[in-house]
């Protein structure tokens, strides 16, 4: 059952742990069938939002509806309609894959589940290992099994808490494919948390950027990136040049330097680059790197810090972008 096409809606959602405000008056709406991402640094309140929306933790203040049911008044109805994939894979390692599915079926009070379980095992390519203890599975297989458990009772909403944290790039890419497939093929609404920029960008229809328990920006990844209204050009020359020469180029907003490397914040890289080539034609351009707006730059624009930097201020955009580029290599 959906609520006006919304899988999740929350108003003034607040969760306190003693004096600590973990979630601070959050308003959110998640359309049915979409992939919604909560993007923020560790400790921002992402997991707490999942806990209160699934009834694992009590709501301190505000209201929340999941799959058409009030989380406070009808938590059991909510739990019948949601699935959950934990950041750390949580399975019973002493049980086989099939026994884990059997237990999940008992807890979800399913009477007719074996056919679906077999189909899920086939879908996730786990049929051959169904009788083996899950403690012997590889990391990727364990993640698949966890998603199969979450899907067994045909939930309307799946909560995925940092689904790819700690995984190597190959497994992460495989899980991205699975999450996309689960959303499209099964029509399940997915709410995932992440502090990986590229993950939210690649998977999510809508993203909420969260910092210190508050939503600081929401929208589609494209909408959020459009808010930055600037590109970054990293430039290295063989000849020394003055900042005034760069600032004189139309479209250049700010200029920073470090040695022979310059960081230019520009209105549009496509418009500025031809002008820059012309202005610097005798200065020996050795290297150019263009950074288009990303969710990371949105987060910095709004909060003044990197997404994986808890509490610290960003003093040097260049250093950040150099690190970002290194990380992508």
């Amino acid at each position: 059952m959906s609520n006006n096409g919304l899988a999740i809606s929350a108003h003034g959602l607040t969760k306190n742990y003693g004096k600590l405000v973990a979630v601070d008056h959050v308003d959110m709406t998640v359309p049915s069938g979409s992939v919604f991402g909560l993007l923020g640094p560790n400790g921002a309140g992402k997991t707490t939002i999942i806990k209160v929306l699934t009834g694992l933790s009590d709501i301190t203040d505000g209201t929340a509806t999941v799959a058409g049911f009030d989380v406070r008044r009808e938590p059991m109805s909510v739990k019948q309609r949601v699935g959950w994939v934990a950041a750390e894979v949580i399975l019973d390692d002493d049980l086989s894959g099939w026994e884990n599915l059997w237990l999940q079926a008992q807890l979800q009070r399913l009477s007719d589940w074996k056919g679906r379980a077999e189909q899920l095992l086939a879908y996730f390519e786990l049929t051959d290992r169904r009788k083996d203890k899950v403690g012997t599975y590889s990391t990727g297989m364990r993640k698949k099994m966890e998603i199969a458990l979450a899907l067994l009772h045909q939930p309307e909403v799946i909560f995925m808490d940092e689904p790819t944290i700690g995984l190597d790039p190959n497994v992460r890419r495989m899980l991205w494919d699975l999450i996309t497939g689960v959303n499209r093929q099964f029509g399940v609404t997915v709410l995932l948390t992440s502090h990986y920029i590229e993950e939210a960008d690649a998977l999510c229809d809508h993203v909420a950027i969260i910092d210190r328990g508050k939503f600081v920006a929401t929208g589609t990844p494209s909408e959020l990136k459009a808010r930055v209204k600037a590109d970054y050009i990293e430039l290295e020359t063989s000849e020394s040049i003055t900042p005034g020469k760069l600032e004189a180029i139309p479209g250049v907003l700010t200029v920073r330097s470090q040695g022979n490397t310059w960081i230019l914040r520009v209105s549009s890289a496509e418009e500025v680059l031809p002008r820059m080539f012309h202005a610097l034609r005798t200065d020996g351009i050795r290297r150019i790197n263009v950074e288009k707006p990303s969710l990371e730059s949105v987060f910095i624009d709004i909060t003044g810090k990197k997404i994986d930097q808890e509490g610290g201020e960003v003093q040097d955009y260049r250093k950040f972008y150099v690190n970002l580029r290194r990380a992508r290599r």
Partner: protein, 285 residues
């Protein structure tokens, strides 16, 4: 080929068990069966559960059996002829063993909290009371594992077992009540704990005084008045007396029915109180 590119058709709908009660029974059964499977797949748990009471018989019983018969006669208060200290001790060891298994139930719960499995359970429409009851009954059933081995070991030490099959059902039922009561008690007082040390500390604090002030090892008639007062309400003592009547003396009197009733009341009270406590205080993590 990635899984997402495949087209595996899934049924459009899945039926659910009808009715709240049948649903809760199904959840309870699933969790209880999990406790049993995990117990019997862990050779160390089985080994320690079996060896610990056996060691009581071998070391403590062996030592006491070497005392002069006059001393033992004083201790055993003119028990029927042929009663050895081992046959006197066996029911007491079985009773104290059931008291200790409550600790394992608590540790199993804390393990589920620390490894996140409690979240996996409670994110389904499973109540905390159902989780609690499955853990309590699972611990009590685990305690029963020691019974057949203990009886075989006792016979190997020369103990002659008495009682009819019906009388045996009575004392085994008493042991189940005792184990359930203590498991419920341990689980209730550790409901909000996530510390591995808590069950052990509480077990050490409670088990020793209740074991000695019970009549499990020695007749309570030799106790000082304050210990006898504890023994008079101690369910371990009632279980030991019931077991001793059946296994050692081969009788089952109306007094034994009272012992059984007392143990049933103890289990019921602990389970009811524990369910209320767990429903409110059982922590997810």
């Amino acid at each position: 080929m990635s899984a997402a590119t495949k087209t595996v058709s899934l049924p459009a709908t899945l039926s659910q068990a009808n009715g709240e009660r049948s649903g809760q029974v199904q959840q309870f059964y699933g969790l209880f069966a999990r406790e049993m499977i995990k117990t019997f797949r862990n050779p160390w748990v089985i080994a320690i559960t079996l060896i610990q009471p056996f060691m009581w018989l071998a070391f403590f019983g062996g030592m006491m059996s070497q005392l002069p018969s006059a001393e033992l006669d004083t201790f055993l208060l003119h028990a029927p002829a042929g009663t050895t200290y081992l046959s006197f001790l066996l029911p007491g060891v079985l009773a104290t063993g059931m008291m200790a298994i409550g600790m394992f139930g608590s540790m199993s719960t804390i393990q589920d909290k620390r490894f996140g499995f409690m979240k996996r359970i409670l994110i389904t429409p499973t109540s905390k009371a159902t989780v609690y009851l499955s853990k309590a009954l699972g611990a009590a059933m685990r305690g029963l594992v020691q019974i057949p081995v203990m009886l075989v070991a006792a016979m190997a030490f020369g103990v002659k077992l008495q009682g009819s099959p019906l009388e045996w059902c009575g004392w085994i039922l008493g042991l189940v009540f005792l184990g359930l009561g203590f498991a419920a008690f341990f689980l209730a007082i550790t409901a909000s704990s996530t510390d591995w040390q808590t069950p052990g500390v509480i077990s050490n604090f409670i088990t020793m005084p209740l074991m000695f002030a019970s009549g499990a090892m020695f007749p309570s008639s030799i106790y000082p008045p304050w210990m006898r007062a504890i023994a008079d309400v101690n369910p371990v003592g009632f279980s030991a007396l019931l077991s001793r009547d059946v296994l050692t003396y081969g009788v089952f009197t109306s007094t034994d029915l009272l012992y059984l009733g007392y143990l049933a009341l103890f289990a019921l009270a602990m389970v009811l109180i524990g369910t209320l406590v767990a429903s409110r205080y059982l922590k997810v993590e």
